[in-house]
Amino acid sequence: MLKKIALVFSLALIVACSSSDDSSQGGTTDTFDRSALLKNLADNIIIPAYQDFGIKLTNLKGSINAFVATPNQNTLDAARKTWLTAYSAWQHLEMYNIGKAEALNQYYYFMNIYPVTVSDIENGVLTGAFDLNTPSYHDAQGFPALDYLLYGLAADDAGIIAKFSTDKNAQGYKDYLTAVINQMDKLTKDVITDWTTVYRDQFVNSSQNTATSSLNKFVNDYIFYYEKGLRANKIGIPAGVFSSTPLPNKVEGYYNQKVSKALSLEALNAVQNVFNGKSFNGSATGASFKTYLDYLETNKEGEKLSMLINNQFDLARTKIQALDSNFSAQINADNSKMTAAYDALQRAVVYLKVDMVQAFNISVDYIDADGD
């Protein structure tokens, strides 16, 4: 993790200096009701999203158990279908690396680190000696491991089903698959339980502006996710933005070969809905980053910053929609469309990470390590 703990001084003084092209609020502490924003996030967005995901993950667990019990085309199809449904719902949660999710030493490390290390999975299958709780198995579990086990084990479906039935290591595959879904299920229940029992109130009541206050942490997690989980992992890394050549095998849902675009669009929708405070179950909107920025009358280049951000999200969506449903195929056919999508996503980073946090008077607590 790149996170640094921001320092809190016993006697903190907030000084804001604005240069002439900046119209965010200077100097004074604003009177926006941060607690209302936190309530809307917790009650109308985060907790409903977790509950929705919990149901879909339970369905996935059921269909995987049925597949393990009776490996055939029907049960495989059902497991794949529930995998995709749950994976899509997951896109709404990965940004919430706060509370229990963070305390687990990053819940998302156990849910969506890709690409998977196939040799770790195969070795685990072969020997039965694996521990999904160790960091070295972060990239051998979660949705990406299910992607490999349900789509990537063999060239065709019959071959995949054979791995779980007639293969000499069939029991090993069954055990590994079961261990992965059980781990996802257990950790998810831990996080949901925490939100619905103690953490919701903690989250909502921590409405001050310190480095460890809810909104400060949440804003950082949100931007970090946008920058890393969405922009880099889904688009930038496979498009080769951070390497000498494109890396088409690093897309999300690599073995499925059809869903990398759909998952990215879902993630972008989730990010934008949080920005606008849109209820998870419905179209109502409440207190949000957007209403906070509008309350502060934050403008940039003569436009409302909240509008610039929404426009940029919309533009990025258009660029992603123009891509092949399989990003690997897109990279191999015409990578410049991938980098164009990356560029559109990147343009919103400046709005979020510079302009928005300045308006909120929040420090960014992580830094990109990209120097010499």
Binding site: C17, S20, G26, S244, I367, D368, D372
Partner: protein, 399 residues
């Protein structure tokens, strides 16, 4: 563009004030630049830019190899986009490095952070020049160049032999002079000296409180500034006291611009601004720091501009004198410097002096049809005039 400072200890002297751009910050404290670029904390040097030195040395080897006709396209490309551990260079330390030249070309945060598509196009153009050198120029090494076919041309009076492609372009010159902009200038002016890098995350807060990087003696902001310094002076024997002429890139061409009486003082202006800006960081005076950034941007941007005009004019004169080889050599340097103009920076803006589209149009004009073989003096004067007037110097000053 610095705006937020959090958590200043009230017991320490308050060095911050809110100011508009034209106000002098902090008038009671005078920041003095040291005589040389030496900075310490508790007796330890806080200056480090070994990564920049590494990349300059890699670029030096690439430049030499482009004139070695025994090299394959793959070998040349490997010098450009080296991978850690591959035996590409004569220097073992470079081979062991995980750095390479290519991934820092057109890679500044300000100009290319959200323009990776364009960055890839610029890199690809350089890839194609490097490949063409091996596949088109090297096989014709002993042939005499003619319009449309690669080969060699010798300068008048038993002078140097120049190896050109079918358009008369020395590809090694195009690559080397593009690196002056694409690597050194872009990284320096548009990345490390940018507020988006210097003031990223908690850099101001940490610098204000002298919080150094883990295991280092410098704050992040100090280090970013030094990395900018390293792209100019990193290959000097004693980088703290630069003598210039220490590489084949920006360092040397800053020296050449400075040697022209019309631009005398350019080199000292840059060095002094680097020293004072670094001292300003130590003194937590960020307005003074940013004033030095503006000075560095203006003067370093002048290098490719003056050299481009200089070589365009030299090409015109040599052509008139019938020395085709000398003319093509000059125009090849000019083309690389023109390409470098897209990496300059107009002080106090977010823009280079010329955009990618503009420099591409210049290059397309120079390389149209048979390229240098049939470029006209009028074209050379026209491009010279456009560049010189943008920077506000007369064409004749660059001669």
């Amino acid at each position: 563009m610095r705006k937020i400072l959090l958590g200043l200890a009230i017991t320490s002297t308050l060095l911050t004030s809110c100011s508009s751009d034209d106000e002098v910050n902090n008038p009671t404290i005078t920041v003095e630049a040291p005589a040389t670029y030496k900075f310490t904390r508790d007796g330890n040097s806080t200056v480090d830019f070994n990564g920049q030195t590494t990349r300059i040395k890699m670029a030096m080897e690439l430049r030499s190899a482009l004139k070695d006709n025994t090299k394959s396209a793959a070998e040349l490309q490997a010098l450009f986009s080296h991978r850690e551990g591959d035996i590409d260079f004569s220097d073992a330390e470079l081979n062991a490095s995980k750095k390479n030249v290519r991934n820092k070309v057109a890679a500044s945060k300000d100009l290319f952070g959200a323009n990776t598509t364009l960055s890839n196009e610029i890199k690809s153009l350089m890839d194609s020049w490097i490949e063409q050198q091996a596949t088109t120029v090297f096989p014709n090494w002993e042939m005499t160049a003619t319009a449309g076919s690669a080969g060699q041309l010798q300068q008048a009076g038993g002078g140097a032999v120049r190896y050109v492609n079918g358009k008369g372009l020395e590809l090694d010159q195009a690559v080397a002079k593009t690196l002056i902009g694409g690597l050194m200038t872009d990284q320096m002016l548009n990345n490390y000296l940018s507020t988006s890098v210097l003031d990223e995350a908690s850099n101001i807060q940490n610098n204000d409180n002298a919080i150094v990087e883990s295991g280092k003696f410098y704050t992040t902001m100090e280090h970013k500034w030094d990395e900018a310094y390293g792209y100019l002076y990193g290959n000097e024997v004693d980088p703290a006291v630069p003598v210039l002429g220490a590489d084949s890139f920006l360092n040397t061409y800053l020296n050449q611009v400075d040697a022209d009486a019309d631009f005398a003082g350019t080199a000292a202006a840059v060095y002094d601004a680097f020293k004072l800006g670094r001292a300003a960081i130590v003194a937590k005076n960020y307005d003074l720091r940013d004033e030095q950034v503006a000075i560095i941007r203006k003067n370093v941007s002048l290098v490719p501009a003056v050299r481009a005009v200089h070589y365009l004019q030299e090409g015109k004169l040599s052509m008139a004198a019938g020395d085709t080889a000398k003319a093509f050599h000059a125009l090849s340097e000019a083309l690389g410097f023109i390409n470098s103009l897209q990496f300059t920076r107009q002080p106090n803006t977010n823009s280079p002096y010329f955009t990618n589209a503009e420099v591409t149009a210049f290059m397309d004009t120079l390389l149209a049809e048979n390229g240098f073989w049939d470029v006209t003096p009028e074209t050379l004067d026209s491009i010279s005039g456009t560049i010189a007037s943008k920077f506000g110097f007369p064409v004749a000053a660059a001669n």
